[in-house]
Amino acid sequence: MEPTNIKNPEFFHKVVDCQHACPAHTPVPEYIRLIAEEKYTEAYMVNWDSNVFPGVLGRTCDRPCEPACRRGRVDEEPVAICRLKRVAADNKGDVKAHMPQGPFKPNGKKVALIGAGPSSLTVARDLAPLGYEIHLYDEQKLGGGFMRSQIPSFRLPEAVLNEEVNYILDLGIHTHFNQYVSSLKETLDKGYDAVFVGSGAPKGRDLDLPGRKEADLNVHIGINWLANVAFEHTTKIGKKVIVLGGGNTAMDCCRTARRLGGEEVKVVVRSPFEEMKASPWEKEDAAHEDIPIIDNHVPKSFVVENQVLKGMIFEKVKAEYDKDGKRKLVPVGGADVFIEADDVLIAVGQENSFPWIERDLGIEFDKWNMPTVDTVTFVSTNPKVFFGGDAAWGPKNVITAVAHGHQAAISLDLFCRGESLNVRPSPFVNLVSQKMGIHEWAYDSAVVNDDRYVVPQADKKVTLVNRKKEVELGFDHITGFKEAERCLNCDIQTVFSTDKCIECDACMDICPTSCISFTENADETDLRSMLKVPAANLTQDLYVSDPLKTKRVMVKDENVCLHCGLCAERCPTSAWDMQKFFYNVTKAHTGCASHAK
C-alpha cells in the first residue's frame, strides 16, 4: 500500500467515527470532554455551531452517531452521545452572549425561506449574521416545523423548543407565520434574491380499505392527528385505540393516545417486530407504557356497525425472503383476526407534496413529483431556488435537515455574491500534540470500564396523565460525568513519524487491542490478512507508514484503537504522538474566507 497521507483531513476525520457519522459532523468527543470538565456552556456552543438545536437533539435525535461509536465495537454499548448533549443543554450558562449579536449590517440581499422547520431555521441562522434580510414563512402559528407539530411534548418540552427557535428568530428574522405559501411564483415575484424551500414532507399516507369512508369520524392520519394534539385542537381519544404502522410516528401516536385517554392502545404492524422502522429505544418506551406491538398482521378492513367504528380485521402473515433477501409477506392461513377499536390512527408513512409550486418555473420534477436537487449544493434546476430538509429527498430527521441547511446557506450566499456554487469552503482543521510531560497527556487517556448508564425516567403514573410531562429526566451531573468518561477520545489521533522509529516493537507489544503491526508491505487485501489480528472490518482504514530501516512498514488498523496513548507512552523515541484533531465543517457565517476580500 501507499503510505497514508495524513495531511488529507479526511483520513483522521474518518477515525472520529461519531463525528463522521453525524450528518452535521458535530465535534462529538470535543463536547463530551467539555461536559466531563463541567464546561457546559462551551459544550453547548460546540453543539450549537454544528447542529443548531442541542436541547432538541439531545432529547430527540435519531443519533446515527451511536451505532457508529467505536466503543460499541469493543464494549457492549456505545457512549450515550445523544443524552450527553442534553446534559450540556440542561446545565449551560448564558449562551446567548456567545452567539452572533445583531443588528447586522444589511448586505442588501433578501432571501425567502418557506417552511419554518429545522432546515429553514438553520439557513436563517447561518445567513442572518452576514446581513441578509430573511423572510421566514410557515402556515403554523409558531416556528419549529415538525419539531413543534409532530414531536410530542413528553419527549420535547415546548420551552426547550421555544428557546432554541428564538435564538434564531432573535437574529432579526422577519417571520410570516400563519401564512400558507400557495404560489412559489408569487413569492419569487416579490423580489427575493433567492428562495429556500424547507417545507418538509407534510402529507400523511392514508389506507384505502373497505369501511374507511364509513369509519372516517374515528380514523385519523397520524401526523395530522399529532399536529392537532400539539396545537390543542384535539384533546381526547377513545379507550380502545389501534395504531397502524411500525415507524417512529406510530410510536409517538400510540404513546400520545395513552395520554389522551387511550386505555387499551395497540400497535399493529405488518412486518416482523425486528424489522420495524422505529428505533429500538422508541419500541422499549412504548412497551414500558403497556402498549403491545402486534406484528405480522396486515390490515384488511374497518368494521363499522350503525355508523360507529367497532374495530378492524387483520390477516396473519409471515415474512419469507427470496435469495436476494427481498421480503414477501405471505398469509399463514387460518381465520382473520378482529381487534376492537374506538379510534384508529394511521401512521404508515408520509410524502412530499408541492401543489403550491408551479411547474413552469424551471424547476424540474421527476415521475414521483420530487424536485431534482443537487446533492452537494442543494440547488434545484432553477438557480434561484434551493431545497433542503425533508422537502429535498423525502422524510429523514432533524439532524439531516440541519446539515442540509448549512450547505444550502453556503450555496445561497455564494449565489447571492455571484460566485460558483461548486467551490465549497474547506473544513477548519487543526492538529495539536497533547503531550504535557514524559507520560502525561492533556486529555484523560485512561479507558474506563463502566457500562453505559441508563437515563432515568419519571414515574409513568405521572407521565401518562399529563401529555406535557417529560418522560426522560436526563443525566445528573455525576452520571453525566461518568458517561462522558466512557468516551474513547477518538479525535486524539495516534500520529506516527517514520524517521523516529527504531523498530523496538514496544508499541506493538503494549497495544491492548492489537492495532499495530510491523510487517512487509503488500497490497491492501494481503496486508489486511498479514496483521497481528487480521483487519476484517473493511469500513475502517489502515494507517500505513513510509518504509522503515528494515524495509518493513508500520501498519495500524484504525478499527478498534482505544486512543489510550499507551503506544506513545511506550515509544522510546516519541515516534508516536497523541495529537488532538479538530475538524469543523465551515458554515456560511463562520467560513467563507472570500468575505474578507
Binding site: 514524559i438 523498530e503 514496544a506 476484517a536
Partner: protein, 350 residues
C-alpha cells in the same frame, strides 16, 4: 503515566486449544523503560505460551535480580513465580524441579545475573541438564544499576559515557555448548518471527534449553559504538537457519528443497523444521555448532537461531533416578513402605 492497561481487547482475538486468547497469558503492565528489549521478549514468551496451549497454572517462572529478572511480573500472571536472589535462580529452579517434576520451569535471567554474580550457579545447572528453559536477556550491561559494563559486553564496545570496554567478553552460548547443554540457541529481541518458535522449541525440549537473547537497553546501552544497540545488532545479525516449530501430529507444510532443509524430531514427535542459511553447520553436532559460533564471531557477526540440539538427552531426574511422581503427591504408604521392605533394603546393604 498510565498504570492500568485497558481491559478491552480486539474482539476477534483467536483462541487456542484450551479456549484462551493470548491476553490470558499477559502479566502486569511493565515498569521497564519504554522501548526496552526485555519487554519485547516478554511479548514473545506470552505468544509462545499461548501457541503451545500451556495451562498457566502448570508453569513456574523463576528469575534472579535485574531489569530482565523483573520481567516475570509482566507475563503469565496466572502462573507460579519466584523472584530469587541475584544470580541464584538456578538453585531455586533446581529445588523446585526436584520437588515437582510435573511443572514446566521457565527461568529468566540477565547477563549480569548469569555471567557475573550467577556464573557459578549457571555452569552447574547446565551440566546437570535440569529440565527447564533458561533465557538470558542480554544487554551487555547492568541495566537496573544504571548501565555498568557486564561480562558479556564486547571488547572494544563503547558505553553511554564513552568508555571503551577493555576486557574479553564471555560468550554464553558457546560456554553452554561447551558445558554440555542439550539445547542452545541465540536470538534478538527485535525479531519475534525467530524468537517465538525458538522459545516454543526450548519449552518442548526435555532437558536444559538455553536461549541467549540480545536485548538492547535503550536507556544505557543503545548508543553509537555499543555492540548491543538496535542498530548495531540489526546490521550484524546472521541466522543459522530459519526455524518453525511444528507440534506433534501436525503436518509439515513448508518444504525448502534439498540441501537446505533439516528436520529435527523431538522426543514427543514434534519437529523443528530448519531452513539452513549457514553452510557446514549441523545442529545435531556439537563441534560444528561451536565452529559456527567461532566463525561468526571472527567475522563480527552475531549468529542467531538454533545452534545446537540433542533431542535424545536425559535430564537430571533421569540421571539421578528420582521419584517418578512429584513429592507432594507421595502418600504415607509410598514414604513408609513397611518393615518388609526395610528388611529387603537392609539385606542389600549387608
Amino acid at each position: 503515566m498510565t498504570y492500568i492497561k485497558p481491559k478491552f481487547r480486539h474482539p476477534e482475538l483467536p483462541k487456542n486449544k484450551l479456549g484462551y486468547s493470548v491476553d490470558h497469558y499477559e502479566g502486569a503492565l511493565s515498569t521497564l523503560c519504554a522501548g526496552c528489549g526485555h519487554d519485547s521478549i516478554s511479548a514473545g514468551i506470552i505468544q509462545a505460551a499461548y501457541e503451545l496451549n500451556i495451562e498457566p497454572h502448570r508453569l513456574a517462572k523463576l528469575s534472579g535480580i535485574g531489569c530482565s529478572s523483573k520481567t516475570p511480573a509482566y507475563f503469565l500472571s496466572n502462573s507460579h513465580g519466584f523472584n530469587s536472589v541475584h544470580g541464584r535462580m538456578p538453585s531455586v529452579a533446581t529445588g523446585a524441579a526436584m520437588a515437582n517434576r510435573d511443572l514446566t520451569y521457565f527461568g529468566v535471567s540477565g547477563d549480569g545475573d548469569t555471567a557475573s554474580i550467577g556464573m557459578g550457579q549457571f555452569v552447574h545447572v547446565v551440566r546437570r541438564n535440569l529440565n527447564m528453559t533458561y533465557i538470558v536477556m542480554n544487554n551487555g550491561c547492568y541495566g537496573l544499576t544504571k548501565g555498568q559494563d557486564s561480562a558479556t559486553a564486547d571488547q572494544g564496545s563503547k558505553n553511554k559515557s564513552g568508555n571503551v570496554n577493555l576486557f574479553e567478553s564471555i560468550d554464553l552460548a558457546s560456554l553452554a555448548i561447551e558445558l554440555g547443554a542439550t539445547f542452545v540457541a541465540q536470538s534478538f529481541s527485535g525479531d519475534k518471527s525467530q524468537l517465538v518458535p525458538l522459545i516454543k522449541a526450548a519449552m518442548n525440549h526435555p532437558g536444559f534449553a538455553f536461549i541467549n537473547v540480545i536485548s538492547p537497553c535503550v536507556t544505557f546501552n543503545n548508543n553509537l559504538g555499543s555492540t548491543k544497540s538496535y542498530d548495531y545488532v540489526r546490521d550484524h545479525v546472521e541466522a543459522t537457519a530459519t526455524i518453525d516449530f511444528v507440534p506433534q501430529m501436525q503436518e509439515i507444510s513448508v518444504d525448502y528443497g534439498k540441501g537446505t532443509q533439516k528436520n529435527v524430531t523431538m522426543h514427543d514427535g514434534s519437529v523443528l523444521q530448519l531452513h539452513k542459511l549457514a553452510e557446514e553447520w549441523d545442529p545435531l553436532d556439537r563441534q560444528s555448532a561451536m565452529n559456527a559460533v567461532i566463525n561468526a564471531k571472527a567475522k563480527n557477526e552475531i549468529l542467531t537461531g538454533l545452534l545446537y540440539v540433542n533431542p535424545d538427552a536425559h535430564d537430571l531426574h533421569h540421571m539421578i533416578k528420582t521419584s517418578d511422581h512429584p513429592l507432594n503427591s507421595l502418600t504415607k504408604a509410598d514414604l513408609c513402605p513397611g518393615s518388609a521392605i526395610l528388611v529387603d533394603i537392609n539385606a542389600e546393604l549387608r
